[in-house]
């Protein structure tokens, strides 16, 4: 008995770690196979609550309304003028800020309302691109304002109060009309 215990004492008490790499490799390969790189990004919107009642008609000055129509042929009509999507962002920015005080553009940023309307036959991609441009116009304006006031870009990481002060000055009001049932896919 004594001999055996002595032998144990003499043995080096070390775990053989050479198979550790293999184990880690197996796990690695498992995760490699099951991985789908997350594409959890997108345009976040807040839908208006549903109400059964007819919305009451609001009287708005037409100079404050920036109407965007996207038809079933994916063409844009902005304030009754056909427009290319590449011009939309700059045009919307000019409308909201109205830097030269033109009488046909928004009185001030807080009064500006964007109205977006599409057909049921509108391509989703076009719709999202238009939405993206409008949101982008606001994002750029927020960035500029934030740079002026706080010296940094506007982002969701900023404190709530800072974001609120920016949003109060240039609020994003985007109203989506019920689409016209035109060009619906059968």
């Amino acid at each position: 008995m004594a001999k055996a215990s002595k032998a144990r004492d003499l043995m080096k008490n070390e775990i053989n770690a050479s198979s550790m790499a293999d184990i880690a490799f197996l796990l690695l390969i498992f995760f490699l196979v099951t991985t789908t790189v997350a594409e959890d990004k997108g345009i976040t919107v807040k839908l208006p609550p549903w109400s059964e009642e007819e919305a009451e008609e609001l009287k708005l000055k037409s100079r404050n309304v920036y109407s965007v129509l996207v038809n079933a042929q994916n063409q844009l009509l902005v304030r009754n003028q056909p427009m290319d999507i590449n011009d939309l962002r700059d045009n919307a920015k000019e409308f909201i800020m109205n830097p030269s005080g033109r009488p046909d553009l928004a009185e001030k940023p807080t009064r500006a309302i964007i109205s977006l309307k599409n057909d049921r036959g509108t391509n989703y991609r076009t719709y999202l691109e238009v939405y993206n441009e409008l949101k982008g116009a606001y994002n750029e304006l927020w960035n500029e304002l934030c740079q002026r006031k706080y010296g940094k870009d506007y982002s969701d990481e900023l404190p709530f109060a800072v974001r609120k002060s920016i949003q109060d000055e240039i609020p994003l009001v985007l109203s989506e009309a019920e689409p016209t049932s035109f060009g619906e896919e059968k």
Binding site: L28, F31, T35, T36, E39, G42, R125, G136, E185
Partner: protein, 159 residues
């Protein structure tokens, strides 16, 4: 000179593999962190559009996914090519949306429920009709926080 070469030949050249497990573990942790287990098998073709103004979805457990697109080839014989809605891992009708949302809602702690987001994964080529109907259903169910899933577009002109 001869001294150097003699010394080198004397030692057996073997690279120590002791740090190999560590390297592999780092790789492993990386993949563990970025991995999202595939929750549902896609039965519709979803190829989301490219846009520039993206926001990231924060907590995965607070997100439910609605897929809209044309059925993939395998299901076209049965379901045709008209754009359809997929909830979870099966095709669904629009009126199944409230139940689907409720099933997800009960799994979320009550304090976090206002932050539940619906991720609309919509194929770029479908028309707005079905998207609009889905949005209406979401509004009727009181699910107002919606994220249109999209990919990052690299805009060379603007930047």
């Amino acid at each position: 000179m001869s001294k150097f070469s003699k010394k080198r030949s004397g030692t057996s050249p073997s690279i120590s593999t002791a740090s190999l497990p560590d390297i592999i573990f780092i790789l492993l942790f990386f993949f563990m962190v970025v991995t999202v287990m595939r929750t549902a098998e896609l039965k519709v073709r979803v190829f989301t559009p490219y846009v520039t103004e993206l926001t990231k979805l924060e907590e995965k457990s607070l997100v439910n996914y609605l897929y809209i697109g044309r059925p993939i080839q395998k299901f076209q014989a049965l379901y045709g090519t008209k754009p359809r809605l997929q909830l979870g891992d099966k095709f669904a009708e629009l009126n199944e949306i409230p139940l689907f949302l409720e099933k997800h809602r009960v799994k979320v702690p009550e304090s976090k429920r206002p932050r539940i987001t619906s991720s609309l994964r919509v194929d770029g080529d479908v028309t707005m009709g079905i998207v609009q109907d889905t949005k209406t259903q979401l509004r009727k169910s009181g699910q107002l926080k919606v994220n249109y899933s999209a990919k990052k577009k690299v805009d060379s002109e603007r930047f």
